[in-house]
């Protein structure tokens, strides 16, 4: 990740202007203006994305890749433009390396079941890290169970960083695949994925990067990372839910068997045999989320229009400020203190259970995530059942952090 140490005034994010683009920020919750600090769970949608999806349905919605009529051609064209937008967003060499899917979870399952079933056998190993969320654990568990392979886990340090020495030590000629989060959802840790990819490649493993949390915060370049697969979800980058993509190196995708069968993924079908369409369509059976995919393209267009470096700089500043403000609260402990962090503040507050924190804050109009963040092993690692997590996005500002601190004051009043 390259986070600019300084930003020129021109590159600075105009947060007030950004806020005006989110209709939901006008909503009140329990009579208070919404303070949305849960973008790591799912991001709110800017007007540009809402409009893009509505425009599809109002003006040119149709099925894609199969009609000769004008609407179908318009929809196909827009959908394929979205694919190209994803390609540029990820820095992939070719658009055929982009499989449009329902999100990161589906992408991980695709790799596990298509590449994994063909290439992982008895006695082989799959390596992940201790900070993974469930969608980068369970698909590999299913694969390993089926194939008699083992799942190995590189531990994390108290800071929430992966123990890189242990990661390297766990790699061996038996390691067929290593799958690592670019950014941890529960702790915010930004992993050194370039270096980890290099290590895993040196051992001969194929490398999957789970970019669900990275995509909204960190400029991504799959060619520079050098990974073989990269997955992300549309709903976390201000796009529609149930959209997302898998990048896969063309040579790997071509060698992989289809995953799901159906329309659009075939080139010919007879009752005795079917042949497969070319990549990426081989992995896109059935009618996809047409309008959602097109709106995902609009979301990336919008986000890149803000300037990814300006967004990262703003979120970095909010993270610094938030860390400072929360650290002053007696009894509050931030969980996850990696040197390189995305704008996630996971914390515990004395003996107060995160659910109680969440309920009190909700009454102040403040939305945070409480619980295990679909990363139970991370919670176990720190010996806590759950944390409260405030996650910051491009539209969050100092007032949101001040509201959070005031809200936590009310929590302490009630439970102190």
């Amino acid at each position: 990740m390259s986070s600019p140490a300084r930003t020129t005034p021109a590159a600075r994010l105009d947060v007030e202007a950004v806020r005006r683009q989110f209709p939901v920020l006008e909503v009140t919750v329990h009579g208070k203006p919404l303070v949305y600090l849960d973008s790591a769970a799912s991001a709110q949608k800017p007007r540009a994305v809402i409009d893009a999806e509505r425009e599809v349905y109002e003006r040119y919605y149709s099925n894609i890749h199969r009609g000769v009529h004008s609407l179908s051609m318009l929809a196909t064209d827009a959908y394929e433009k979205a694919r190209t937008r994803v390609q540029r967003f990820l820095g992939a060499a070719e658009s055929r390396e982009i499989v449009l899917l329902r999100g990161t979870t589906e992408a991980m399952n695709l790799v596990a079941q298509s590449w994994g079933r063909r290439n992982v056998g008895a006695g082989d190993e799959v390596l992940i890290t201790g900070l993974e969320h469930h969608s980068n654990i369970v698909p590999w568990q299913l694969l390993c169970e089926e194939k008699g392979a083992s799942l190995r886990v590189a531990p994390i340090l108290d800071s929430g960083e992966v123990d890189l020495e242990a990661f390297e030590r766990l790699l061996s000629p038996r390691t067929r695949l290593a799958s690592v989060s670019h950014v941890s959802n529960a702790l915010g840790t930004v992993n050194p994925v370039e270096r980890m990819t290099e290590m895993a490649h040196a051992a001969g493993a194929v490398v999957v990067i789970d970019g669900a949390q990275a995509a909204p915060h960190v400029p991504i370049d799959v060619q520079r990372i050098g990974c073989d697969f990269y997955a992300f979800s549309g709903h976390k980058v201000y796009g529609p839910s149930a959209t997302g993509a898998l990048y896969g190196r063309a040579a790997l995708l071509e060698a992989m068997p289809p995953w799901q069968g159906g329309g659009d993924m075939i080139s010919s079908v007879t009752f005795s045999k079917s042949t497969w369409n070319e990549i990426p369509f081989k992995f896109e059976a059935g009618t996809p989320n047409v309008a959602g995919g097109i709106a995902l393209g609009a979301a990336l267009e919008w986000l890149c229009g803000l300037g990814l470096h300006a967004v990262a700089a703003h979120e970095g500043e909010m993270l610094r400020l938030g860390t400072e403000m929360l650290s002053e609260i007696p009894g509050l402990r931030i969980v996850g203190t990696a040197r390189k962090k995305a704008s996630v503040l996971s914390f515990v507050l004395g003996d107060v259970h995160p659910h109680d924190i969440g309920t009190v804050l909700d009454h102040e109009g403040i939305a945070i995530r409480t619980g295990h963040h679909c990363a139970q092993p991370v919670m176990d690692r720190f010996g806590i059942p759950a944390t409260a997590r405030a996650s910051l996005a491009c539209f969050n500002d100092r007032r949101d952090l001040e509201a959070l601190v005031r809200g936590l004051g009310k929590v302490r009043e009630m439970f102190g």
Binding site: G31, P354, D356, T359, G371, M379, P385, M414
Partner: protein, 148 residues
Amino acid sequence: MMDLRELYQEVILDHSKRPRNRREMPEANRRAEGYNPLCGDRATVFLHLDDGIVRDVSFEGSGCSISTASASMMTEALRGKSVAEVEALFQRFHELVTTGPEKAAGPELGKLAVFGGVREFPMRVKCASLAWHTMRAALEGGGRATTE
């Protein structure tokens, strides 16, 4: 707007900060573990049944203030009751946190009535009922209860 104090009544806060009967019970002849997968709350409920009467009841576990207070107050409510009375109280409590206490039938809830505010907070109903479901699983012979 629902006042938060309706949910977090003083007696609930008191029991969550100083839970009663939170201890292991080696002599228990019924026990069960409960788990709320949504939030990770865990509770183990211990019962000592003698002649169909709850002679002693205790719990262990970690959870939010609602689930801890609910477990604590449940142990106070159940001691000395027959299995049939316990079952009736379970039904009554369940009604209280889901549909409300308006229905007059059933045993008196006594102090447990403070959980009436929970039903305004649908996400917290499972917190209030975890210990009760676990207790019921223990009565039925042990094992695991989840709120799912």
